[in-house]
Every structure is written in structure tokens, then in C-alpha cells.
């Protein structure tokens, strides 16, 4: 299969009539790791959610394609089946639906009817991956995210990613609230998946995660746009000098998405 090819061109997104993303461009190919960094309130989660098709976000302009297919025309579940994955900053809790059942339904949704994965094989794979991610085996039968700690939810997102094997994976603040051990486990999970068959977009506020997942490209987001791109060194520079240095260099006073009067 050809390498994934994910393209975002001049994306504009509004929430409740307020423009949050103001022309964003991004090109990710299989085998690449991109990082988007930026202070809070600059539109990073808006980008992630609108790419996944969250109903709250209205795309007002631009194009998004995965392997040439128009993603914006698709519903959220179609985007997922086309190969897009989003590890959410705040995943929902769904009582009464077990983790294992959820993941199995998600996998089966990708299969033709009658070609679903055998139950035993599924559970073996699931347990294997849970072990890799240091997740207690009992979490398979726990209700989806219900009563999970912050770190458990994040690891559970990575578990889903590794079970679903997406072509483009977006990780939104997967590092927030993790202690260093959990961070390493999560980074390990991502690194072990790295191949030409998957491209990553890693959204983070801090550089710390990028010590463990080394990006090929780093983009800085402010005011709903990418204002600077570079390689891994840019992240280190930001860590050393802070966002204020970049704001000064670019002549930006308020980096957040400004609210029109």
C-alpha cells in the first residue's frame, strides 16, 4: 500500500460563528512525525477536533485530504475508517460499554460483514498490547474510561491507536497530566508503531514529550495559524527561550485566538 498522504490546505474553522482557525496548512506523509506546539488557547485542539469532524466545529474554508480522498465530505466514522485517528485531550466516559467491546466494535466496523476478527485472536492481541502499555489486564472489561485516572485515559487512547493501526494519528496533549514513567510508556507505544505506513501529528504544549518522541518537523501555532516551522531544534529553542521570544520575533502581542469585537 502507498504511504499515507495527508494534506490540510488553508483551513478555516469557526465555533459558534467565531473564527478560530484562520488559514492553516499542513502536509504529513507516512513515516513522518510532526509536532504542533503552542501556548494555550491558540487553536490546537480546534484543529484536532475539526479534522476528526466534531459536530461543534464548522469548517468555513479550505481542503483536507487523506490519500486524495476529501475528508471534509465524510462523517466522523467515515474519516476514522479512512485511516484517521485522534487521541483526545478529554476522552468521554461511556458507562456499561466495556473497553474490549468498544475496541472490537471499532475494528469490526472496518471489516466486511462475516470477516470480523475471531474473538480469541482479538483478546490475545488486546492483552499483548495492554501489557506493552503497562495497562492492568482487568481494564479490558472495565467500562470505557469510567473512573480512569488522567494517565489511564491517555494510555487507553494509545491502546486504541495501536489496535486500530491508523494511517494518520493525531495525539492531542497526550502528555498532559502524565508522570515521567507514564510519559515514557506512552512515547514507547508511539515509537513502536513508527513506520512508513503511519504519519503522526503530535500536539503538545511542552517540549518534554519531544525528548522521547523525536519529531521530523515542529510547527508553532498562534492566533489560529502556523506561524513558524522547523525541525526538532525549534522545539529545543522554544524550551530554552520560551514562547515570548518567538512572539517578539514575529511581532505578536496576544498569541491566543482573538475574539472579534
Amino acid at each position: 500500500m502507498a504511504k499515507p498522504n495527508f494534506q490540510v490546505e488553508d483551513l478555516h474553522v469557526s465555533i459558534e460563528g467565531k473564527e478560530i482557525l484562520k488559514g492553516l496548512n499542513l502536509h504529513i506523509r507516512g513515516g513522518e512525525i510532526h509536532a504542533i506546539m503552542g501556548p494555550n488557547g491558540t487553536g490546537k485542539s480546534t484543529l484536532a477536533s475539526s479534522l476528526m469532524g466534531h459536530p461543534h466545529y464548522e469548517v468555513t474554508g479550505g481542503r483536507v485530504t487523506l490519500d486524495g480522498q476529501d475528508l471534509l465530505e465524510m462523517s466522523t466514522d467515515e474519516r476514522a475508517r479512512a485511516g484517521l485517528f485522534l487521541a483526545m485531550q478529554y476522552p468521554s466516559e461511556v458507562p456499561g460499554v466495556s473497553n474490549a467491546n468498544f475496541i472490537r466494535q471499532a475494528l469490526n466496523a472496518r471489516m466486511e460483514e462475516g470477516k470480523e476478527i475471531p474473538v480469541l485472536k482479538f483478546h490475545r492481541t488486546l492483552q499483548e498490547k495492554m501489557k506493552q502499555l503497562n495497562i492492568d489486564p482487568v481494564f479490558a472489561e472495565r467500562y470505557l474510561n469510567e473512573g480512569f485516572s488522567g494517565g489511564e485515559k491517555k494510555r487507553n487512547e494509545i491502546l486504541q491507536m495501536s489496535m486500530l493501526e491508523p494511517r494518520i494519528a493525531i495525539l492531542d496533549e497526550i502528555d498532559s497530566g502524565l508522570d515521567i514513567d507514564a510519559l515514557k510508556v506512552v512515547a514507547n507505544g508511539v515509537n513502536s508503531m513508527k513506520s512508513d505506513n503511519i504519519g503522526f501529528l503530535i500536539i503538545t504544549h511542552y517540549q518534554r514529550l519531544l525528548n522521547y518522541i523525536v519529531p521530523d518537523y515542529v510547527h508553532v501555532m498562534m492566533q489560529g495559524r502556523i506561524v513558524k516551522s522547523g525541525d526538532a531544534k525549534l522545539a529545543e529553542e522554544l524550551e530554552a527561550k520560551g514562547y515570548d521570544w518567538l512572539k517578539e520575533e514575529l511581532g505578536i502581542e496576544d498569541e491566543t485566538v482573538e475574539v472579534d469585537a
Binding site: 469532524g53 466522523t76 466514522d77 461511556v94 460499554v97 475496541i103 472496518r110
Partner: protein, 425 residues
């Protein structure tokens, strides 16, 4: 006069069809009298004025057993009694039960063969003068079981009554009486099939449970009521010292129903636990009250109600805890949640606490009514699950624990199939 005459004919028709003893006929006649004299009740959330109180004509000979019901009972490996339009079709017993002195028979046979037991307990928990429909039940009851479990007998397998209602020309009046003697342990299952549309007749279904000291009774139900008719359903238990009564009640219907599920926690240390699963569709009207009356000291109760409504269904789920003066150290918890699947559905969740005692151990309640959380749907869809399936999974998740609590595998399968049928339309 003419009205009383015609219908008291119906009382006689029922009584002679079952060849009952004279004392039962007299109970029925008295009940009928009360039924005709009692004023029409006024309910807070249910308008009965347009419903009428016609009872139809008693069907003297039953039709055959529908295929789906035959299939269901053939899969049962515990004792059951099958009724069609109030007439007993067959009873299956198992050996263990007879040896232990358990009585499991239809209520009409019981009035002949176990007269003193039935006389002592019939209408002792759901009384003739509770309301108009409790009188109606005693006047016209046809079909239902008598289950008696002697002292210190614990039975693992459940006992089941299966009712099929096919006749369009009559209301339905099953009546179950369950007596668990001291330290007995028993499970009872009550299932109805009524797929056909009905005329606007009034039905009254009654289950009464006497749970003596130290006994445990679990009643699981699966109701399916036909559209058109008015159903009054009364399920009440009298719970003795240290006894435990559980109800796991499920209803998947599009009918007009007024239902009460109640535990009278009479003895010290009595405990009640009620779970309700309600799935309404079409133009269903469901007015359901789960009630716990704490009379004894240190009595405990839990109520959990889950409703999911489609189309133009309209449900009122009331959870009511009453703690009378002197019932010191009582504890009670209520959870009442309703989901409106379609925008056209309506739901009310009403928690009620009537507390006359200062010394209360715990008393919590939570009630909510809402739509399915769109963020949950989005989350499931973001993994590739189509919207319709995502919605179903979330609703299933929310009903899951109560469905699991139903006391037999065939019952769980039946309820799952009924709910699935309504959710996947």
C-alpha cells in the same frame, strides 16, 4: 343496574370456567361491587378521563400458542406455567421442587387444593380496596400462579409464569401470589407476550409477595403490553424481619400503562431493591412508580430506574421513599435516569421523599432526564463506529447492569431481543 348485571355475568363466567369454590366467587362478587362503586381515581401525571373502564368479554377457550412463545418456553429448563388468555396450557415441574414441599400451581387450582394457604394470603398485600384496579383484579383474575416455598427451603432454579394475550375482545387479569416462608429463598419470573393491538379495554395485573422473616425473594419480569388497552400493573411485597425482596422489572411496550412496584419494609432489618428497565416507543404512555415504604427499624432500600424512549413515547418515572415515624435507622437510595432517544419523546423523572422520622441513616436521590450525550456518540464514531451503532451501544451500556440482574439467561435473552428490536428500528 343493567351495567352491574352484565358485568357480574362476566364474574360468573370467569368463576365457573375455573370451577372455583364458592368462597372465591364471593370474593369476586364483593370485589366487583367495590369496583363499580369506587370513584375514578385522579392521577397527577396521567389523564384517565378518556380511558374508560370497559372490561370486554371473557374468552372461554384459548387459541393456540404462538410460535415465538413456544420457542421461548421450550428453552426453559426450570419450572414454568404457560397461560394463554388466562387459561393454563401447561405446567412443567422439576423433581427437586416437589420433594422439598414447594407448591407451584396455577392460582385457580390452588384455591381448591391449598385453600387455607390461599385464603390466608390472597389479597393480603394488594388489597381489594387499594384502588379501583385492585378491586378489578380480584373480581376478574384469570390465570396466574400460586407459589409457596416452605420454611428454610432454598431453591436455586427460578419459577416462571408466561402469559400470552391474544384476544382483542377482553382486558387481561393475571394474578400471582408468592409466599416465601421463614428463611426460604426463591426466584420468580413473570413474562408477558401481547403483540396484538387491543381494543380500549382496561386490564389489571397483580403480583403480590409475602416474604416472611429471613426469606429472600427475587422477582424478574419482562412485560410487553399491546397498544390500545389501558394496563394497571401492581407489584407489591410485604417484607418481614431481615427478609430481602428484589424486583428487576422490564417493560418494552407502546401501551398506556400505570404501574406500581412497591416494597413494604415491615420487619426490622428488611431490605428492598428495585431495578426498572423501561423502553417505550410509538405513543406509549407509562406512569411508573417504584416505591419503598420503610416501617420497620433499620430497613434499607435501593431504587434504580433506567428509561429509554423512542418516537412519541411519554414516560413518568417516579421513585418514592417513605420513612414512617418510628422506622429509625432507615437507609435509602434512588437513582432515576431517562434518555430520550428521539426528539419527539418526553420523559419525567420525579424523586419523592416522604420522611416522618428524624433518625435516618442515609437517604440519597439522583434523577436526570436528557438526550444521549453527543460527545459520547462522537467519541465512538471517531473510532469508526457508525452513528446508529454508537447510539445503540451507549443505550445498551446504560441499561447493561439492570439487564444483567434479571434472574435467568432466557429472560435476559428475551429482554435483550425486545430492546434490540426497538433500538435498531
Amino acid at each position: 343496574m343493567t351495567e352491574a348485571n352484565t358485568v357480574s355475568l362476566q364474574v360468573h363466567a370467569v368463576s365457573s370456567a375455573f370451577q372455583e369454590p364458592e368462597w372465591v366467587l364471593r370474593l369476586r362478587e364483593d370485589a366487583w361491587q367495590r369496583f363499580t362503586e369506587m370513584p375514578e381515581p385522579r392521577l397527577e401525571k396521567t389523564d384517565l378521563r378518556k380511558r374508560g373502564w370497559e372490561t370486554g368479554t371473557f374468552v372461554a377457550s384459548p387459541t393456540g400458542v404462538p410460535e415465538s412463545v413456544r420457542h421461548y418456553v421450550n428453552n426453559l429448563d426450570h419450572p414454568y406455567a404457560l397461560f394463554v388468555d388466562g387459561h393454563l396450557i401447561e405446567v412443567k415441574h422439576t423433581e427437586a421442587q416437589g420433594q422439598q414441599g414447594v407448591i407451584f400451581t396455577d392460582i385457580h387450582t390452588a384455591t381448591l387444593k391449598h385453600e387455607s394457604l390461599v385464603k390466608e394470603h390472597l389479597a393480603s398485600v394488594v388489597k381489594v380496596d387499594d384502588n379501583k384496579w385492585s378491586a378489578l383484579s380480584l373480581a376478574l383474575f384469570a390465570g396466574g400462579i400460586f407459589l409457596y416455598v416452605p420454611r428454610n427451603v432454598q431453591v436455586d432454579v427460578p419459577f416462571e409464569s408466561v402469559h400470552v394475550f391474544t384476544a382483542a375482545q377482553s382486558g387481561t387479569y393475571p394474578r400471582n401470589l408468592i409466599v416465601a416462608d421463614e428463611l426460604a429463598d426463591v426466584k420468580f419470573i413473570d413474562v408477558t407476550f401481547s403483540p396484538e393491538q387491543k381494543e380500549k379495554f382496561t386490564s389489571s395485573h397483580v403480583t403480590e409477595v409475602v416474604a416472611k422473616a429471613g426469606s429472600r425473594v427475587h422477582v424478574g419480569t419482562a412485560d410487553e403490553f399491546a397498544k390500545g388497552a389501558t394496563y394497571f400493573v401492581t407489584r407489591r411485597a410485604l417484607v418481614g424481619k431481615d427478609a430481602v425482596v428484589e424486583w428487576t422489572v422490564s417493560d418494552v411496550s407502546n401501551a398506556f400503562t400505570v404501574e406500581l412496584v412497591e416494597d413494604i419494609l415491615e420487619g426490622t432489618g428488611a431490605r428492598g431493591e428495585t431495578r426498572v428497565i423501561g423502553v417505550g416507543y410509538g405513543r406509549q404512555h407509562m406512569d411508573l412508580t417504584a416505591s419503598m415504604v420503610h416501617r420497620g427499624r433499620h430497613t434499607e432500600s435501593d431504587i434504580t430506574m433506567h428509561g429509554a424512549l423512542r418516537e412519541r413515547a411519554n414516560s413518568v418515572f417516579r421513585s418514592c421513599t417513605e420513612i414512617v415515624k418510628g422506622a429509625v435507622g432507615a437507609g435509602s437510595e434512588q437513582h432515576d435516569r431517562m434518555i430520550m432517544i428521539d426528539r419527539t419523546a418526553r420523559a419525567d423523572a420525579i424523586p419523592m421523599l416522604l420522611i416522618d422520622e428524624n433518625d435516618v441513616n442515609r437517604c440519597g436521590h439522583a434523577a436526570s432526564v436528557g438526550k444521549i450525550d453527543p460527545n459520547q456518540v462522537y467519541y465512538l464514531m471517531s473510532r469508526g463506529i457508525p452513528q446508529a451503532l454508537a447510539t445503540q451501544m451507549i443505550i445498551w451500556g446504560y441499561l447493561h447492569d439492570s439487564v444483567e440482574a434479571l434472574p435467568s439467561a432466557p429472560l435476559r435473552d428475551l429482554v435483550v431481543a425486545r430492546i434490540e428490536r426497538e433500538l435498531s428500528r
